[in-house]
């Protein structure tokens, strides 16, 4: 038994070490003294967090199969980085995740068409305002006669980006309306076209971009009553980064004095034109290929660690030692009792407070740890399904418990559980899509990127659906092949 345990400990140590290789230590989350500016200068990079689905502020373009974030906010960030004498690094994620990313040091600043509201000011600091725009509502062109301004939407459904100003405007200023919150603007437009919502509240420049690029859409002035925070746009920082904010404000002052946003918007417009010229899915094949690569990478690595850890947790749960058994049960039940989505966010943002884990690695860790709990239960069932006589025969020959497990019990358990394990892998391909919320560019993430880039909602969904099906179907076929190979009896 001791030998077995030390062997298991080795597996854990190696797994943890392998995962750890990718992680680097980070600075303490909140320094008492403000060294925000010094820190940026020292590392030589300025990390900007943004949700690039908000043209013309920020959006993705495809250049020679490679995608890139562009837009007014990116030009602003470039100027700031240049003024500070550091390199700009852009991190993409959902709008929802931006504030947490600041708090957990994932990014140095957030430029994402974000308004400095009183509520946000409680948790983060803002630069001076760099852009003032009104709030518009996008509608279907066919409905142009019906909707005039926000008051036309009484008792109707409207959409807005989750966690955004627009969401609150809808909630608070349109009587009796239901506000549907979605993370991606592209999904909101889809919802509008299928009349799930009748209007989408958006900042004016963004609305303009969508209307310019889609002949079926129209925009109206929302006529919302806006406090100064709500139609303004500013740059967000971690609370207490006064030195960095002050430095950035110098750049913002210059932008305002020279009215640079005007030329930035024009620059963004040029991308949008080239963007819309080619909306064939072939043109975006590179997006999908990259998405498939990441989806497969996450799945394969997670399956590997999921099995290793799954064996470990299964053995822990089968252990006769009370403490180890209890830990095994606790882990398995806890992981199975909480959603993968929360686990992904916990690993990325929660653990990220102490160790700076890149999003991809965080996603892989979370999916592996999650899968391990399910695999553990499958393996436990498999081990229990091996007849007791097999173990007794092996032990009577002098094989140790560990040798018996490795040579006799596990291979037979594996054969018994192969179909169930196969199901787990297939569903992992699908479930790993949740990592897109922390900005991992898997297939789902790329699907949204293509939707944003092409202003087309449904076709990219169909393409992604077919790709997912091809992936899972071929995997099933391969697994069936091995299942047949393993059948010795009957």
């Amino acid at each position: 038994m001791k030998k077995l345990m030390s062997w298991l400990m080795l597996v854990v140590t190696v797994s943890v070490a392998l995962l750890g290789v990718f992680a680097q230590p980070t600075y303490a989350a909140t320094a008492v003294t403000d060294d925000s500016l010094a820190r940026v200068k020292e590392k030589g990079t300025l990390v900007m967090g943004t949700s690039p689905d908000y043209p013309p502020y920020e959006f993705l373009v495809n250049r020679g199969g490679k995608e890139r974030v562009v837009g007014m906010d990116v030009d602003i960030a470039k100027k700031i980085a240049k003024d500070l004498g550091v390199k700009l690094v852009i991190k993409q994620m959902d709008f929802d995740s931006l504030l947490v990313a600041l708090e957990t040091n994932k990014v140095d600043m957030v430029i994402s068409g974000m308004s400095p509201t009183a509520a946000r000011k409680k948790s983060i600091d803002f630069s001076k305002v760099y852009y003032k725009g009104g709030q518009s509502i996008i509608i279907n062109k066919a409905d142009k006669g019906i909707y005039k301004n926000k008051n036309s939407f009484q008792n109707k459904a409207v959409g807005a980006q989750t966690g955004s100003i627009q969401y609150n405007l809808g909630k608070n200023q349109i009587k009796g309306s239901t506000v549907k919150g979605l993370a991606k603007i592209s999904d909101l437009i889809l919802a509008l076209k299928s009349h799930k919502v009748e209007g989408v509240i958006m900042e004016e420049p963004s609305a303009q971009a969508y209307v310019d690029n889609d002949p079926d859409l129209a925009m109206i002035n929302g006529k919302f009553s806006l406090s100064s925070g709500e139609n303004n746009t500013a740059i967000g920082f971690q609370k207490g980064s006064t030195s960095l904010v002050n430095a950035v404000n110098k750049s913002v002052d210059e932008i305002n004095q020279k009215n640079l946003t005007k030329s930035y918007l024009k620059h963004a417009g040029t991308f949008m034109k080239t963007n819309t010229k080619n909306t064939s899915m072939w043109h975006y094949a590179g997006y999908f290929v990259k998405g498939v690569e990441y989806t497969l990478l996450i799945t394969v690595v997670s399956v590997f660690f999921g099995i290793l850890l799954g064996i470990l947790f299964a053995l822990m749960r089968l252990s006769k030692m009370k403490l180890i058994h209890g830990l095994g049960v606790a882990y398995i039940e806890f992981v199975r009792g909480t959603p993968l989505m929360i686990q992904v966010m916990f690993v990325y943002f929660g653990i990220g407070l102490f160790i700076n884990i890149p999003a991809l690695i965080a996603g892989i860790i979370a999916v592996s740890l999650n899968s391990a709990a399910y695999v553990a239960e499958i393996i436990r069932g498999g081990i229990n399904s091996v007849a007791k006589g097999q173990t007794e025969a092996a032990r009577s020959l002098g094989l140790s418990q560990q040798q018996t497990f490795v040579s006799v019990v596990f291979p037979q358990a594996l054969k018994n559980i192969w179909p169930a394990l196969g199901n787990e892998f297939v569903s992992l391909i699908k479930e790993s899509s949740i990592v897109s919320i922390i900005g991992v560019t898997d297939l789902i993430y790329q699907l949204k990127a293509v939707q944003t880039a092409t202003y087309k909602g449904v076709i990219p969904i169909i393409v992604a659906m077919i790709i997912y099906f091809v992936l899972t179907f071929s995997l099933s076929k391969v697994l069936n092949h091995y299942e047949r190979k393993m059948k010795h009896d009957a």
């Binding site: 006589g389 020959l397 010795h488």
Partner: protein
Amino acid sequence: MPEMIAVENINKKFGDTEVLKDLNGKVEKGQVICVIGPSGGGKSTFLRCLNLLEKPTSGKISFEGTELTALNESQINQLREKMGMVFQSFNLFSNMTVVENVKLAPIKVKKMANDDAQKLAVKLLDQVGLADKADQYPASLSGGQQQRVAIARALAMNPDVMLFDEPTSALDPEMVGEVLKVMQDLANQGMTMVVVTHEMGFAKNVADEVWFMDGGVFAEKGTPDQIFEHPQNERTQDFLAKILEA
């Protein structure tokens, strides 16, 4: 000469049920002991205590002068190498071919080279008449063939004693003979054997001693002649009468 196996006052309880009660017995080198008795009498439990697949609740078992009950895990493993065991349900490893079944323990436990293990396995399979089945999986063999492979597998560790737990009870009648024949050959070669069996013919012809077990005790021990021709104990007489009727 010390006995190969000596059992002193062993008891075994499963929860509150006392299955073995103060058993004593000695097995000498080269002896064949047949244990007979009614179902539920504790025969299997007794046999499984000998190689510690079951731990006796109290009492002492020694094997070749070593007291087993005081050993740790790895010492027990070493000891089990020298005690081959054959089960009623064969228990061949279903994930391995016949020859792999036989080779496994020599390679894993004795660290024998694969070539040597292969030669040994083929020799032993030949001895039990199954050299031609070497590369088949157990599931494709008949019960009698599987049990003969199981015997070869146990012999591959070159044990000093072989323990058999009703090796023919799960077999169709026409296959019983081939297995008993292999066991008889083993006995003739001088193998020390403890055999739990319902095959009275085998016990009569092959055993040096017959131990009759009932209710967790050895109710009577003696030569085959004493037990089968002149049983003293009432329970032995009852048991034999019932067997002969059937």
